[in-house]
Symmetry: C2
Subunit: 418 residues, 2 copies
C-alpha cells in the first residue's frame, strides 16, 4: 500500500476512535493506562530484544554515542516508563469540569466545559520512552494519538505500540486510540502533516531541525518551541549572593536543556560581581565569552562575545556575558536576540521587577529565580508534553490542559432570544 | 512601490508599535479609544462624503441592494460606531492581571499573567463600521492591528483610518498601532497572509468564500468559523411548549445569522409536535423541508429534505426537519452533518441533557435554550470579534480575552533548582 494511503487510514481510524476515548469515563482512561503498564511489564523481553535490534542497526550505521544512549532501553528505563504511567493515571481528570457558570441578564446560564482536543500527532526522535509518555498524556486528556518516532527506533516503537494496543483492548477501548506509525520512511511525516481534516494538533519533540521541518510543512497547528536562548539579567539593585547563585545554577545545573541560561546580562553598575562569578563558572569548566565592558571588568574572560553569540543556543558549557546600561537596555537585548522562552531578573527593587515581569514578552518571566525552573513538573502541571513559545492556545510548559479545548455550555429553561 | 513591499513595511511598523500599546496603561488605551471617537465626530462630513464615493462606484459596478446597504454609512450608523468605542473603553482591562499564583514545593511562586497577542490582522468585507469596531477591540486588548477591508469600501475605510490615526496621536500612541491598508488590490491580502514573522493572528470577517481563501492561504493562525449549520434536537422527554418556542425562535428570530437553526431533529416519539410547529413556521414564511417520517407526521410539509439539505447553511427562511430514533441518533446526525457551531437539546431529562452537553463536540452546546444565544454579548463577553469553531486558542464567541495570550510568571527569592 502507498505510504500516504496507509497514514490516511490510520488518521481516519484515530478520528473515529476519538469520541470513544473522549467520552470514556476517567476510570476507564486510567484503567487503560494501568493496563498498558501491565502489558509493558509482561512484554519486557520482547521490548528489550526489539530495542537490541535498533541498537545493533544504529551501531552499524555509525550513530554517535549520545544518540545510541538516547535510543537505548534497559530495565531501569522501563521501570521509569511504568512509573510514569502510574503517575499520569493518578493526575486529576482535566476533562468534563464546567467552570464559570454565570446567569446572564437574559436568564440563561453560561459556562465553559473542558473537553479533549480530538486527535494529536506526536513526531519525535530517538528516545523510544516518548512513545509511552506522550501517548499516556494524550489519552489521559481524552485524545486519540498517532505516534511517529525516529526511523532508528522503529523496532522498539512498534513493540511498544503492541503494548499500547493490548492495554487498550484490555480496558475496552479501541486500538486506534493510540497507534504507532509502522513505517520508517520519512514520507510518512509529510503525509501525516497534511491531514488537517483528521488531526487537531501536532507536537514535535526533538532537535531544531525536526521542529523547523514540521512547522514549515504542517497544515495542522503545531505546539512547539524552536530555541531556548534564555537570559538572566543582574539589575543594579540585585542582591549579590542571589545573583551569583542564580547565574551559576541557570548555566551549570544542566547544559543541554532548553531552559538553561545562554546569555548573562549585567547592569553596568554591578560589574564588580563579574570576577568572582566568572571564576566560579570557569572552575566548573564553562567557557565564558564577554563583551568589551565585561572583559575589562573581569580580565579572566579571554574570549570576545560577538554579535552571533547573542543569538546562539549553545546547549553546552559556554556562556556569553554582556554589560548593559539599565533594565531598559536589558529588555531591548532580550527582545532583539531572545527566543521568547524564559528570562529572569535578579533585583531587590520591586518596581523594576514588576516592569520586567510585565514587559518582557517571553513564555516564562521570572524574578529572583533560576531559569531552570521553567518546566511542567516545577510549575505543578504534573507532567509536560512540551514547551510552547508561541502565543496561541498554550504558552510555556504544556501539561494536560494544553491537550484540551473548551466549549461553551448554555443552560436555559425554555429561554428564547428577544 | 510594490504592493508586497508596502504591506511588509506596514507590518514591520505594526510589530514595532506593538510593545508600545502592549505596555500602555489602560487609561492611555481608553483615552485613545475616546480620542478616536472624538475624531470620528469631527470628521463626520469627510467620512460620509468618502462613503458617498464608495456608494457611487458600487452603484456603477452594479452591486446588489443588500451589499449597497451594508456598505452605507449614515449619521445613525456613525452614532453606533461612536457608542461602540465608548462601550469598549468601559470594558474591564483584560491585560496584566496575574492569576493562580501558587507556591510550589521548591518554594517558587508560579502564576500566569494575561498579555496582548501582539499584532492582529483583520480581513473583512463591505461593512466599513468593522474598521473601527475591530480596531477598538484589538487596541483595548493591547494589540496593534492592520485592517484590510473590501475594495468597494476603500474610500470610507481610508477616511476612518485617518480618524484612527488622529485619535492615536492625540493620546500619545503611534499611528502604526492601527493601520488601514490603503490598497484595493487583492494581492494585498496574499502579501499580508504570508507575514507570520510580524503578525500573530488573522481574523477574517465576511462570507464563506473570503474565510476559506484566508484559511487556505494564511501562514498565520486564523480565528474563524466557516459555517453555522446549527441544530435543535427535540428529545423524547421535551416539554412541548419549550420545544415549540425554542424551535420557532432559533429559526425565525433572524434568518441571516450564523447561530440560526438550519436543521430541526425530532425524537420519533414526539412527532405529534410537528403539525402545530410546521404551521407556525409556515405562517412566518418559512419553507419547511422534511424527511419521510416528518412528512407523514405533518402532511403540511410538501417538500422533501434530501441528503444535501443536512449539510446546507441556508441563511434564509428555510428549515430542514428530520425525525431520529433517539438522542444517540441525533448526536450522530450532528457529528456527520454539523459545522461544530451551536446545537441545543430540548428535554426535561437531566441525564439526557448532561450526556448531550458532554458529548456534542460543538463550540456552544445548549440545553432548553435557543441557538440564537450563541453570541459574545449574550455570553457576557461585552463584545465579540468573531466566533471560532476551531478548537485551539479560542472557541465559540470570542471577546477581548481571545485577543490576548498568557505567560508564566515566577517569583523567587534567590531560588535555584536542585
Amino acid at each position: 500500500m502507498e505510504i500516504a494511503t496507509h497514514i490516511e487510514q490510520m488518521a481516519r481510524a484515530a478520528r473515529a476512535a476519538s469520541p470513544l476515548v473522549a467520552n470514556a469515563p476517567v476510570d476507564q482512561r486510567n484503567a487503560a493506562l494501568l493496563a498498558i503498564r501491565e502489558a509493558i511489564a509482561e512484554d519486557r523481553e520482547a521490548i528489550l530484544s526489539a530495542n537490541e535490534k535498533d541498537l545493533e542497526q544504529g551501531r552499524i550505521k555509525g550513530l554517535d554515542e549520545a544518540l545510541i544512549d538516547r535510543l537505548a532501553l534497559n530495565p531501569a528505563r522501563l521501570d521509569a516508563v511504568e512509573e510514569g504511567l502510574a503517575q499520569v493515571a493518578a493526575l486529576a481528570d482535566p476533562i468534563g469540569a464546567v467552570s464559570g457558570l454565570k446567569t446572564m441578564p437574559s436568564g440563561i446560564k453560561v459556562g465553559t466545559m473542558r473537553v479533549p482536543l480530538g486527535v494529536i500527532g506526536i513526531i519525535y526522535e530517538s528516545r523510544p520512552n516518548v512513545t509511552i509518555e506522550a501517548a499516556a498524556l494524550c489519552m489521559k486528556a481524552g485524545n486519540a494519538v498517532i505516534l511517529r518516532g525516529g526511523s532508528e527506533a522503529i523496532h522498539s516503537n512498534m513493540q511498544l505500540g503492541a503494548s499500547l494496543a493490548s492495554g487498550l483492548l484490555a480496558s475496552g477501548l479501541p486500538e486506534a486510540v493510540a497507534q504507532v506509525v509502522p513505517v520508517a520512511d520519512r514520507a510518512a511525516v509529510g503525509a501525516l502533516l497534511g491531514l488537517s481534516q483528521y488531526l487537531d494538533l501536532i507536537v514535535p519533540r526533538g532537535g531544531k531541525g525536526l521542529i523547523e521541518r514540521v512547522a514549515a510543512e504542517s497544515r495542522i497547528p503545531v505546539l512547539k518551541h524552536l530555541d531556548g536562548i534564555c537570559h538572566v539579567y543582574i539589575d543594579v539593585d540585585a542582591d549579590a549572593d542571589k545573583a551569583h547563585q542564580i547565574a551559576i545554577n541557570a548555566k551549570t545545573q544542566r547544559y543541554g536543556t532548553c531552559n538553561t541560561m545562554e546569555t548573562l546580562l549585567v547592569a553596568r553598575e554591578r560589574t564588580e560581581l563579574l570576577p568572582k562569578l566568572v571564576a566560579a563558572l570557569q572552575a566548573k569548566g564553562v567557557e565564558v565569552r564577554g563583551c568589551a565592558r565585561s572583559r575589562s571588568a573581569a580580565p579572566a574572560i579571554t574570549l570576545d562575545a560577538v554579535e552571533a553569540d547573542w543569538g546562539t543556543e549553545y546547549l553546552a558549557p559556554i556562556l556569553a556575558i554582556r554589560v548593559v546600561d539599565h533594565v531598559q537596555a536589558a529588555m531591548e537585548h532580550i527582545a532583539a536576540f531572545g527566543s521568547d522562552h524564559t528570562e529572569s531578573i535578579v533585583t531587590e527593587n520591586e518596581a523594576t521587577a514588576t516592569r520586567f515581569l510585565r514587559e518582557v514578552d517571553s513564555s516564562s518571566v521570572m524574578h529572583n529565580a533560576s531559569t531552570r525552573f521553567a518546566d511542567g513538573f516545577e510549575y505543578g502541571l504534573g507532567a509536560e508534553i512540551g514547551i510552547s513559545t508561541d502565543k496561541l492556545h498554550a504558552r510555556g510548559p504544556v501539561g494536560l490542559e494544553g491537550l484540551t479545548s473548551q466549549k461553551y455550555i448554555v443552560k436555559g429553561d425554555g429561554h428564547i432570544r428577544q
